[in-house]
């Protein structure tokens, strides 16, 4: 009896392997550990739900191979080369932050494998590249809107900037803000720096306190933003804080507590702005699976996945070159985060959302359309 069962099991094994259609393998390189682990994990959550909602395309199941980049550039480059060389993926989703995407994009471009980044906002990521795309806005726009917010909302004449010099995102966004703020008549009176992983901001806060700015611009990531805000308030700095899309993670609220109340930031998504069918369905399935609401990083990662599926079905094939062409020709794609129309430079035209931290939650303030 046991032998019969064993034989049946073996047959089942063989059959299930044989009957299963040849899967389409796409890669995902995300920061599951390290300084921006929240983004990678949120991104993976988004991709998982999106995959659950759409597990096949062209009659073939989709397989997503995940490699952890450990929030590090060099690991990102390694991850992309492994996905392409070992797993032979036909397309890649990732990374969540600009610095790591810049490191990984080189190789994908060289090997002509299309890459879609959910949330890398630095313009250089897609510049002069044919195979790299994104589903979010870019930092030149983000800096512009931030400068506008500083002038209109906060009526600020002077600003202090605190930036993370180990992140391409932070450095570039800070410089775009400075340019736009100065053009709009403001003056940047202090620029302080730190690097990812720093936890003590006393010297920076000391400088800012002395400068007495009307607003503090912090285009940095959530852990550092929370701790910096806390230390700022402890030192008696009362200036309002304006931030970018790098702070939208639950850790900001947990670590920052009262200190982050009132922070206003530009970002990609808030669940209140969802209008599309697929978006509403995504919200439902996500809440069912995880018991909480999705945010920017989850939603954008899901959109990257949906966009890829859409492109593959339009292309009618799983060949990387055809997928790439289909992505480039995206005209009418409705995603979770809104409509995506791909422009020739690899960037879509997308709305920007302004959120605020109120009563320990992220609330939607307004949406700025392109």
């Amino acid at each position: 009896m046991k032998r019969l069962l064993g034989a049946l099991f073996l047959v089942g094994l063989i059959c299930s392997n044989g009957l299963a259609a040849d899967p389409i393998v796409i890669g995902a390189y995300l920061s599951m550990t390290g300084n921006v682990a929240s983004y990678g994990q949120m991104g993976w959550d988004g991709i998982s739900i999106a995959k659950k909602m759409r597990p096949e395309v062209l009659g073939r199941p989709v397989e997503v191979r995940l490699v952890d980049t450990k929030s590090d550039k060099v690991e990102s480059a390694n991850a992309v080369s492994r996905l392409i060389e070992k797993d032979k993926v036909v397309a890649i989703i990732g990374e969540m932050i600009s610095g790591n995407t810049l490191a990984g994009a080189d190789y994908a471009e060289r090997k002509k494998i299309p890459m879609v980044s959910p949330t890398a906002t630095n313009p250089l990521v897609t510049q002069n590249k044919k195979y790299i795309f994104r589903v979010c806005f870019i930092d030149t726009d983000q800096g512009k809107i931030a400068a506008k917010l500083a002038r209109d909302l906060f009526k600020a004449k002077t600003a202090a900037i605190i930036m993370d010099i180990s992140q391409d995102y932070s450095v570039a966004l800070a410089s775009f803000f400075k340019r736009e703020f100065t053009k709009a008549g403001g003056k940047v009176i202090a620029e302080t720096k730190f690097k990812s992983g720093d936890r003590d901001f006393t010297p920076q806060m000391g400088t800012i306190k002395g400068a007495k700015p009307d607003v503090i611009y912090a285009p940095i990531y959530y852990t550092e933003c929370a701790l910096a805000a806390k230390q700022a308030r402890e030192m008696g700095i009362t200036a309002p804080i304006l931030a970018g899309d790098g702070v939208q993670a639950p850790e900001l609220l947990e670590l920052g507590g009262d200190a982050v109340e009132g922070i206003i930031f530009t970002t990609h998504f808030h669940k209140d702005m969802v209008t599309s069918e697929i978006g509403k369905k995504f919200l439902k399935v996500f809440k069912q699976e995880f018991g909480k609401e999705p945010d920017a990083f989850t939603a954008n990662a899901a959109d990257a996945y949906f966009l890829l599926m859409d492109a593959i079905s339009r292309a009618g094939s799983a060949d990387p070159q055809n997928i790439r062409d289909a992505i480039a020709n995206t005209k009418e794609f409705e995603g979770v985060t809104g409509k995506i129309v791909m422009q020739p430079n690899g960037n879509p035209l997308k709305a920007m959302v302004v959120n605020k931290v109120k009563n320990g939650k992220f609330v939607h303030v307004t949406t700025v359309n392109p």
Binding site: E63, A77, E85, D106, I165, Q167
Partner: protein
């Protein structure tokens, strides 16, 4: 017998060369990448073994020389336009901003610059011994990392250097690797090598015999740094992007594991250790990634690989302190003896 050994070594090299040639043609990019990695790490392990194992000076700072070598090589091989594109916070200082040399020249420069730094710090470093030497070299490694992060006009700070041309291929990596092994083996078997071993065993007695301990230690340190610098340059042009976060104490820990597992003091051991840990590391990656198997998905545990490595190192230290080879080196005779003992006498 010596002639027999020479012929055998030559044959082995031919086999290796043809294997590599075959690998380049038909084994796929991923395998080639692993082979390149193995070659570079063999080079690093063998040179690290020279200072730690042969000379007995426990240095915890090879990541510093690696970093110096990698940055030197990268800064010299990038073209001026690429430099302008990369240095977005502060422009690169002159004359580095205009120099651009060929890959081999940049490698030699990398080795020389690393060796130069080693020479400078040898004076203060070798005034300490034992644990303190370890900590001072560790400190040096950390200081180099901090400087790499802060000298933005030289290294581009934490943003690092990217878009390096991938010059490193199997010819370069294995060629230089074999050259390193050859040089180090010759050094170890020379009177300098014997002096190093004497200093390792008992520094005072060695001095009493007329050996200048300081010069011996410095020689080992400088030679070690030279090859580590070249290794750094090769690594930079393999990964094509470097940043200070690459050259941490964890890198040193990796190298340390390699020479300990192989046998502290044995060059062959360093080679074996490097192969085992580099290849094993790749194999173990599958613990860290999610895989689906017949509908069951295994979520993947990031960090598991390092847990296994650390445990491995602790187990080796407690139960097999001498590592694989102990202090012995590979000889053809030894290999035959090993086979004879395992499989009995071959039929006559």
């Amino acid at each position: 017998m010596v002639t027999r050994d020479r012929i055998l070594t030559f044959l082995a090299l031919c086999v290796l060369a043809s294997f590599l040639w075959y690998a380049e043609r038909s084994m796929g990019d991923y395998s080639v990448r692993i082979l390149n990695n193995i070659a570079i790490f063999i080079m690093l392990a063998v040179s690290y073994n020279l200072i730690n194992g042969v000379a007995g000076q426990f240095s915890l700072g090879p990541n510093a020389f690696l970093a110096i070598g990698a940055y030197t090589s990268a800064l010299l091989s990038l073209s001026p336009e690429e430099k302008i594109n990369t240095f977005i916070i502060e422009p690169l200082i002159w004359p580095l901003s205009v120099i651009s040399v060929s890959f081999p020249v940049s490698l030699i420069a990398a080795g020389l610059v690393s060796a130069f730094f080693a020479l400078i710090i040898a004076v203060p470093v070798f005034r300490t011994r034992g644990d303190y030497l370890a900590i001072v070299t560790l400190g040096f490694g950390e200081v180099v990392q901090v400087f790499a992060n802060n000298l933005v006009s030289v290294t581009n700070g934490p943003l690092g250097l990217k878009s390096l041309t991938p010059y490193t291929n199997l010819t370069w990596s294995w060629g230089l690797c074999l050259l390193t092994i050859f040089c180090i083996v010759r050094l170890v078997n020379s009177s300098y090598g014997r002096a190093m071993k004497a200093v390792r065993e008992d520094e005072t007695a060695a001095e009493a015999m007329g050996i200048n301990a300081f010069r011996t230690k410095t020689l080992a340190f400088v030679v070690s740094a030279f090859f580590q610098g070249i290794g750094g340059g090769l690594l930079a042009h393999l990964i094509t992007t470097i940043s200070p976060s690459l050259f941490t104490f964890m890198f040193t820990f990796n190298l340390l594991s390699m020479i300990v597992v192989g046998g502290l003091g044995s060059t062959t051991g360093a080679v074996l250790g490097a192969i085992i840990i580099t290849w094993g590391g790749e194999l173990l990656r599958f613990f860290e990634e999610p895989i689906s198997f017949l509908g069951y998905s295994y979520k993947g545990i990031p960090g598991m690989r390092m847990v296994i490595f650390s445990t491995l190192l602790i187990i080796v230290m407690i139960f097999a302190r001498k590592g694989l080879m102990g202090r012995n080196e590979f000889t053809w005779k030894g290999l035959f003896n090993l086979f004879q003992r395992r499989f009995g006498r071959p039929p006559q």
